[in-house]
Subunit: 78 residues, 2 copies
């Protein structure tokens, strides 16, 4: 089971960015992912976790779609 | 906690339709939803559940974005 969560700040208008990240992941990995959930949040959050482990966080990382894919890939069965 | 799941058939190319449904729900209800998960599936599935209860299913219902919103709304705290 590989479950990705993307928590995003609703009041900051980060839904589009979260959807873009989600789309890239589902396009890239398809059924190698069980699910990708968009989780509503606030206070500027934009964070990606895989099976509970944080792999990308706006507060620490530059936004780079390929970086997110690479970090998730290491958690996805080949 | 209001959790929505949208299971969609990956091989059938239903990702776009699932994303459209998800976008409508998150635009409409924002933080009144805790999360909306896209769940990968096959065999033609396109199904929306709210807290585990099925509210819309491609095998029984016409695709009508407003219908999906109405059915989810009855599960969302005012």
């Amino acid at each position: 089971m590989t479950e990705v969560e993307i928590e995003y700040c609703v009041p900051c208008g980060l839904l589009d960015r979260a959807e873009e990240m989600q789309h890239n992941l589902l396009q890239q990995f398809g059924q190698r992912l069980d699910r990708v959930a968009l989780v509503t949040g606030e206070n500027g959050v934009l964070r990606v976790t895989v099976d509970g482990e944080r792999v990308w966080d706006k507060s620490e990382d530059e936004y780079d779609p390929d970086l997110v894919l690479r970090r998730v890939r290491s958690h996805v069965s080949p």
